[in-house]
Amino acid sequence: MEKSNKWTVRDVITTALLTVLLIAIQLVVNMVCMANDFVSMVLSVGFTMLLCAPVYFLMVSRVHKRFVSLAYMTILGLVFLAMGNWYLLPYYIVAGIICEIILWKNGWESKKKMTAAWTAASLLYNGVNLLPIWFFWDTYEAFARASGMEQSYIDSFVSYYTSPGWLVFIIVFTTACGFVGSLIGSGLIKKHFKKAGVL
């Protein structure tokens, strides 16, 4: 039987619930990682993408329709807008559109396409840390100075995003975490959720 692409009440509620769970996991991981500068600046995004992958896989597999990723990314962008980073809203909408393009032709039925979509999302998620430094450096520096940080400390704090070696490491690490998370996510879906009959 051909399944309609029109969203039902259940789809809306499932997407909203799992999107908030994804955002809550991201915020909690980021807050825990704030304890240490290195973990916060270098590893936190990777950890986030690793932990969120199973939830994303479940959401896409369960709703089984287009625009789930776009809805999730838009809500994420709105959360960043509320935190004063308005430029992350259009950025995440574009990231959501890229995920939708990858998943366009029944991507929710293909493990490979979902893995590709989440890996791309993981790569693009780095924007949350990099965009303020690349495009809004003056604002970022003024904020850091206002917080009481000395110039030398600011320089060492942001050196992870300004030195090419660290930058490559962060991007590769985050993307790899997203990819590994996708493999774990698809494994969990097969092991638990399909067996439980919820998909």
Partner: protein, 231 residues
């Protein structure tokens, strides 16, 4: 004491003002003006619980910021950057949390009155009820794990991946069950019906709403005027 909620329209306006204020200001330390306005706003609504919890958190942040700025405090485990970030975001946290904890009936009545599409109303209500629901679910998962002796520190440290799985799988399954139950409940209450929904809890605007609408408008404008605007 029972809370005296302001109208949802005023709460949304307050949130918008707080977001505009923290996004455009060039003096991040001065956002305390908006936070003080936020605390007064909570006090007017007699929301003592929120006032106390946010108040203690804000005093702690203020003490840290004072030590960082005037006594060169450098913390080993928490960067100064994040202290100012939380300080700066506090007005949004205060107003947003007050909005999130508004009774769902009042929210849906307002959103329906302004002809918000049903999927958005449903999505927003689910999001706003997420935190209390998930708190209860997480507690029940941890209790089950404790019964099976899976929460011991040794067990968690030796098998971190398995421990994560024990938490995330039942939590996700419960999320899906909740989504199904909510969908059935929403459909049974006419979520698919295209008409405007009313509510027993929908309230008309009164003078207090007008006063707070004006206070947030004037307060944010004055804050941006004094603190300066970055574009």
């Amino acid at each position: 004491m029972q809370c005296k909620n302001l109208a949802v329209a005023v709460k949304l306006w307050a949130l918008l003002c707080a977001i505009i204020g923290i996004s455009l200001t060039s003096d991040t330390v001065l956002t305390c003006v908006l936070s003080v306005l936020g605390f007064a706003y909570l006090a007017t609504q007699k929301n003592r619980r929120l006032l106390c919890s946010f108040g203690i958190f804000y005093i702690f942040l203020a003490a840290l910021l004072y030590l960082i700025r005037f006594h060169n405090l450098h913390m080993v485990i928490f960067s100064e950057f994040y202290v100012l970030m939380f300080w700066n975001l506090s007005p949004v946290f205060i107003v947003a949390w007050d909005l999130i904890t508004t009774p769902p009936g009042e929210l849906s009545a307002f959103l329906s009155r302004i002809h918000m599409p049903t999927p958005i109303i449903l999505g927003l209500l689910v999001m706003f009820r997420f935190f209390p629901t998930m708190k209860a679910e997480l507690k029940s998962v941890v209790r089950s794990m404790r019964n099976r002796r899976l929460t011991a520190l040794g067990q968690v440290l030796c098998h971190p991946a398995a421990s994560c799985e024990y938490v995330i799988v039942p939590l996700l399954l419960r999320c899906l069950q909740i989504a199904d139950q909510l969908s059935v409940s929403a459909l049974a209450r006419g979520a698919d019906y295209p008409g405007v929904r009313g509510s027993y809890y929908g309230k008309a605007l009164d003078w207090r709403d007008g006063l707070w609408f004006t206070l947030w408008t004037v307060g944010t404008a004055a804050f941006l005027l004094v603190g300066g605007v970055r574009l």
